[in-house]
Symmetry: C2
Subunit: 395 residues, 2 copies
């Protein structure tokens, strides 16, 4: 195993764990045989497209200058071999020469075994419910602010568990911003950058009343629901208003096994969600449960109080309501629910595209209740995790 | 035709154009026969779910308080009839009573004819290319700022044509913000709220050099690419740097008819795009061409200089490169290209998820070139259009 130098196409480093034992060129592809016996094919255009030389890539920005459309239709491998340092050298029929680091080549191989390996390495959601309510991950404000290792642990937990609690956040207004900015910028919405959750005289949302709020994700009315939601408790003197969290992925998994037809219905029926404001009119239609191209759960989208009339074929309507009612019923089942009373200084940070949150009604005459919230998108969370992993691994 | 009063579930008004001529109740649904002969079925749970009474909806927020899971499994229609004012009245087996305005009921009917009618009424993209370069929609800054009717025309054009030019925007820095705020708030990114396009000493993107930038969408590295892009020219004294716009939907349509296999390949092959910065690491994989659930074009995602190695099955690689090369070749064809030199005060506003933009190289020693940009998402554009249509129709 030899340590790799950084290459200009990437900020990551690719250690050479498996070495190249043979290079078998053909006209339109090259097969590389590795020290562990794996064989990886590389197609001619794929290789030419990824040439990391200083002519194909701008060293200044690490961005590709070459466009693969400029390779000739007749492009062929003239020669290919392992060089003295163990890397792959290719000469092309048009005279261009390319050199690929063995570590990079292996990390980006697309033979079946390599692709399966990468899929296995993808982060997996850790499901939870009432049975694990006592183990929910808690972090200290000071440590998150000061220590990048704690920060990284918190962010990975937010990504994989989807629900985290930060204790002892200062109870001055706007204090949540400093924590959010440990990740990146804020996702602004028409409710502002920081939104205040308190009962208001002319509420434009049930959130701003003292009524019960059933389990929901925020802003399903938008094409991209906000990723992380921060909810910071400044004051909580009112009677009632307990917070409830439900892992939407845990419900979806249970639904898939207990009632696969209902699961399937909810993954393919678009439901419209829209806001009821006199100055804005956001609407978006998407299934309540989304799965990605590899059939992994990617998103829950649901707020009953924002749902519009369902638009579907008449013969599907009974099955749609059966599935919707079952999902709602499950979201009320004790096995999925974690209930907590927020104390001043507590801040929940949760994946708003997975975790449904709810609030019991409270008595606004019995005392004050004031939370502040912000959103940070999943893109920013993932970017920050990658950079911290890069820095803490190779300081 | 009678004018409808606003109902608490919606801010829109639903005129009664077709009246109810018969109501045919059954146990688990009701059929409504309309004055134009159409028959619309309404399933029991669908109707109960949409009951607009003050008990089911909070008049304060216009949001639903009732949850359909609370309807009994045995819910049945006890009686249903047209009332004296021509609306639908339903009595339920559990004693609840509901009343549905005829105009609302027709607007939300889900019989096949009604659904097809709604699909036809969806806005359609107006495609363009070099042949229509002289007709590209131009608006005056003063009129957009002052007149809501001009504002609405501009926004509908931005939505349907995807490329608009606003003339005579003041050339002070940040002037574009006032125009963007005629729509809503800004979509912030890690490049800031307002980004400056000028050549910089340590560029973190090819955009901030003086090099040629091939046709691309901005930030394909994000799960949600920014919707509208504003590009405002403050100074343009340098030699070169002409702006080029290409309608990605026009290319996709041409590709679908000229080479359907390549089109299909590009709609189902995820390509990874990522940024090469030392402080951020955004990555997202999605097909170059996206179509929605009804097979309409919804998005183009492409920036060659941000593309990562393609991860696909080995036997698909030749077809993927054939399709990618063809798309790139088409994006260079004169028939699709509109080229303009930006003058100070010009501001392009275009759909960044449809229109590819490019820049010729310029000579930074020959003079200054300074543009400013912001993004506003499609959600905000659509919301603003709906509210303006509501206000200007019912002032």
């Amino acid at each position: 195993m030899s340590a790799a130098k950084p290459i200009i196409t990437d900020w990551r480093q690719f250690d050479t764990i498996h070495t190249i034992t043979a290079v078998v060129p053909a006209d339109s592809s090259i097969a590389v045989v590795w020290s562990d016996g794996r064989t990886s094919p590389y197609e001619r255009y794929w290789l030419r497209d990824n040439c990391p030389c200083g002519e194909c890539y701008l060293a200044l920005t690490r961005e590709q200058a070459f466009e693969i459309v400029d390779a000739p239709e007749t492009l062929a491998v003239a020669s290919a071999a392992r060089d003295a340092e163990g890397h792959l050298e290719v000469s092309w029929s048009d005279g261009h020469r390319s050199r690929y680091e063995a570590g990079w080549l292996r990390a980006n191989a697309y033979d079946e075994a390599s692709r399966a390996e990468r899929r296995l390495a993808n982060p997996k959601p850790v499901l939870w419910g009432a049975a694990r309510a006592q183990e929910l991950p808690t972090f200290e404000y000071e440590a998150v602010m000061r220590d990048d290792h704690v920060l990284l642990r918190w962010l990975i937990t937010a990504r994989d568990v989807g629900l985290t609690l930060i204790k002892e956040v200062p109870t001055q207004a706007q204090s949540l911003l400093a924590v959010a900015q440990r990740i990146s910028h804020i996702r602004e919405t028409n409710f502002g950058r920081v939104f205040d959750v308190a009962s208001k005289p002319n509420p434009d949302s049930t959130a701003y009343t003292s009524f019960n709020l059933p389990p929901h994700t925020d802003l399903p009315t938008r094409e991209l629901q906000p990723g992380l939601q921060f909810l910071h408790c400044l004051i909580n003197d009112a009677v009632g208003g307990e917070s409830i969290f439900v892992d939407g992925f845990a419900i979806a998994e249970a639904l898939a096994s207990e009632s696969p037809d209902d699961f399937s219905t909810l993954t393919r029926t678009p439901m419209e969600f829209w806001n009821r404001d006199n100055r804005t009119d956001y609407r978006w239609s998407a299934p309540l449960i989304s799965v990605d191209a590899e059939a992994r759960l990617s998103e829950i989208r649901f707020a009953n109080f924002l749902r519009g009339p369902i638009d579907a074929a008449a013969d599907e309507m009974p099955a749609i309501y059966r599935a919707l009612r079952r999902f709602q019923r499950m979201s009320r089942e004790p096995r999925f629910r974690v209930e907590r009373r927020l104390a001043p200084g507590d801040m929940w940070v949760f994946d708003n595209r997975r975790v449904l949150h709810a609030r019991r009604a409270f008595d606004p005459m019995s005392g004050q209740r004031h939370l502040q919230g912000v959103y940070v998108d999943r893109d920013e969370l993932r970017s920050r995790i990658r950079v911290l992993e890069r820095l803490l691994k190779n300081p």
